[in-house]
Homo-oligomer: 467 residues x 2
């Protein structure tokens, strides 16, 4: 249906005419999904600039039983910020709500509006002599509200936790349009159910997060980054435990990377400088964050011991920040190198860390049996047990897409067998909803539905996603 | 009502006759509350030894619409492990469910039954070369299940977080007796609503936590402990920020202690050795945990800078583990010294850290105006914004008890004005239920009730507590 004129007028009254978009030729940035997988067809796109406006919009949607999709930077990878049925849902973009509300440098917290990009959150923290650790490739566009809605992970989870652990309070517009002000900046509060964590990670299905109280941290004084050669994932797990035992909370990143995607970076992205190291089937990229200036490298002595214990075969330590960026740039170039190779599909599974070596062996064998042509591209946050277990099919790029469903089923079956998760950080959205319905504990799904019905009985919040 | 015989027979069938207690003369350890405030009168006390037995008990209670109170070590401070109406509720003690299920030293996690004491959890971790950081005075009796139910805090929250942040997975018997197996040991899992955090901190009102997957950490190699003199809470906040900026995540404890309770320790507990320091109205007890052996003290240079900046007036650094225990023993002796003084009542408020100096001034003034005879005993985890704001009335110990309600209302009113919480770590239970109903955001209370009704529609789980 087209947007009825009376409703359009009411929306214009709330957010002004410039921010009620009904011309599909202007929809692009909001409807074209980051993964080229989903194309939204909203009834209307609204761009409110305050919690009060969001509240009024949701009230109107509730009265008219209109589905609501809320969007931040539109960088989601599972379709959770896209419409699920054409011409019937209201798409709300929060990108105009990007203000810094307040900073408390003595209490190490900061209040921001949900539409601020993660990169701007970093900047606001740094401008105040503080550090906000959440970090991932899309941070220039991704909004902090989106990070909360999907409980984003990234490269510093090992030390600082996922988004959940970085948030002190939230403000939420509920499915009936009322505003819950949970903007507390307390480190400890045991006065009721943990509503904050319930809304976080619920992918917009319970309400609209409009403001956030974030934890801030001291800026590390120094970083030590190293790229290391290991013969197997088992050796990488041994190294991980050695570094954790020796460096404790100084360890902030521990990434495992298969040589295969690195060789694709070399081949497809010749401008990316890949450090020279002895040949090895796996690499580890690890980083310590130090809070005092050191004369001697902490990492060097740990890596020497690892070498003597035959856990690693070669290693290079960054001599400068530039070097360190170079190491990370290799890691971050993998998705583009894979896409260039052809037929790239991605996943973000997690597993109990100790079971990863065996899981990799078993799962790869099963995948190769069913899809002999498949080529794997495995890398990820080993320190969190989270792998990006991706695939390419360079011979025929259409193959992986044609068999995507079967590939995912094959992979996820092994993941569940090893007590893992089919989504460590990207979430469920529309992409994995049917997989989640199939693989998740039915009692857990039932509890989720009970909560959904209790908080959003009309089911207007982000229909067709997650649940 | 007395327990009907047919029901008694059914309970005996589930847990065997020795573990169905109906003789009140045997009730003591389960019914006499830690705070001498509540005296339970259960219909029966059951002591199951497996999740399956708990499940069968809850099924039977659900069929008969019997209220269920679950108890760990019975060390709760708010009555949340006591019955709320006499002779009508089933009290379940989980203290027989105290087994270690499994340890994963490579993945840094451990599965234990809910009835294991926190002290035994520490021991199991240490026996496997690991560290579990949750720690507080009652850890010899408190069970890990109780810690989860109340989201216990303690002395290491600053670095490691509250119980919530130390748990990877849980197993729960739901109000209909079914078992939800959420015993995942994953560091990241974004496949649905955060049920784990919903059950944690719900004080037994949503289900019975029967098993737990705990995070383990490397054992710190060394600790540096110091007792420091400061002139005011504002100076203590400045010192906190200095240490955080200089030592980052090495800082594991930062306790503020008023001189008044320390002088009561000296007076009432002459066996406790109090280190000699220059006179000052406030002391700070702080601790760093180091992961490498150091030749030079990290703390010494930080404290020297703080002295030059006139943030501190004197300091003593522990020379040995024995010294360090001595410092902590002073801190831990305060509650007993206060009780000896007479009329001790306790609270566990939290506030945004930066507002604590002003809050203390304003709240003390208001309390002294209404209760000129009152004497304060303030100490607590300043690093988390959490204060134990306690009182004594040595002249007439009955005074504080008689005016307890008015004192709490006076204090909590100021707490709420400063955006604080009336319970940082002890929880609500029965003690603060009416205060919570009065002071908590009505929208938040309404959301909590919706969730309670969705998960426990008959309201059998821990009736009369929290909600």
């Amino acid at each position: 249906m087209p947007l009825p004129n009376d409703l359009k007028d009411k929306f214009i009254e709330i957010v002004e005419v410039n921010h009620v978009l009904t011309d599909p030729s202007l929809y692009g940035p909001y409807t074209d999904d980051f993964t080229d997988h989903y194309k939204s067809q909203p009834l209307v796109i609204l761009r409110p600039n305050s919690t009060e406006q969001v509240s009024q919009i949701i009230k109107l949607c509730a009265e008219n039983r209109l589905g609501v999709v809320v969007q931040g930077g539109n960088t989601n990878l599972t379709g959770s910020a896209s419409t699920s049925t054409p011409d019937s849902e209201v798409l709300i973009s929060l990108t105009r709500m990007k203000n810094l509300v307040s900073v408390d440098t003595k209490g190490d917290s900061m209040v921001v509006e949900a539409g601020m990009t993660l990169a701007d959150v970093h900047k606001c923290a740094e401008d105040n002599g503080k550090f906000f650790p959440l970090s991932f490739a899309a941070e220039g566009n991704a909004t902090i509200g989106g990070c909360l809605a999907c409980n984003a992970g990234g490269v510093a989870v090992l030390r600082y936790g996922t988004t959940r652990e970085l948030v002190l309070g939230i403000e939420v517009v509920l499915p009936d349009g009322r505003i819950w002000n949970g903007l507390r900046s307390l480190r400890k509060d045991n006065t009721g159910y943990d509503l904050k964590n319930l809304f976080m990670g619920s992918e917009g299905t319970l309400g609209v997060i409009t403001k956030v109280v974030l934890k801030l941290f001291p800026i590390p004084k120094e970083k030590e980054t190293s790229l290391v050669c290991v013969e197997s994932p088992a050796k990488a797990v041994a190294l991980l435990n050695r570094v954790k035992d020796s460096a404790g909370s100084l360890l902030t990143a521990f990434e495992l990377i298969s040589e295969k995607p690195i060789s694709r970076v070399k081949k497809n992205l010749p401008d990316v400088e890949v450090p020279e190291l002895s040949p090895s089937p796996w690499k580890v990229l690890l980083e310590l964050s130090l809070f005092e200036k050191k004369e001697e490298s902490v990492l060097e002595s740990i890596l020497e011991q690892a070498f003597e214990a035959e856990e690693i075969t070669d290693a290079i330590i960054a001599n400068s920040l530039k070097d360190s960026h170079k190491f990370w740039h290799v890691r971050e170039s993998i998705p583009l190198a894979d896409r260039t190779e052809g037929g790239s599909i991605h996943s973000d599974i997690s597993l109990p860390i100790a079971s990863i070596p065996e899981f990799l062996e078993v799962s790869l064998k099963r995948l190769k049996e069913e899809f002999p042509w498949i080529e794997d591209s495995i890398f990820g946050h080993l320190g969190d047990g989270n792998l990006h277990y991706n695939f390419v099919s360079p011979e025929d790029p259409t193959l992986t897409y044609r068999f995507e469903e079967e590939i995912r089923r094959n992979l996820y079956t092994t993941v569940i067998e090893y007590n893992g998760s089919i989504s460590a950080e990207h979430g469920i959205g529309m992409l994995k909803k049917h997989h989640n319905d199939e693989f998740k504990d039915p009692i857990e799904l039932e509890l989720m539905k009970k909560i959904k019905n209790a908080i959003d009985p009309e089911g207007i919040m982000n229909p067709g996603k997650l649940i």
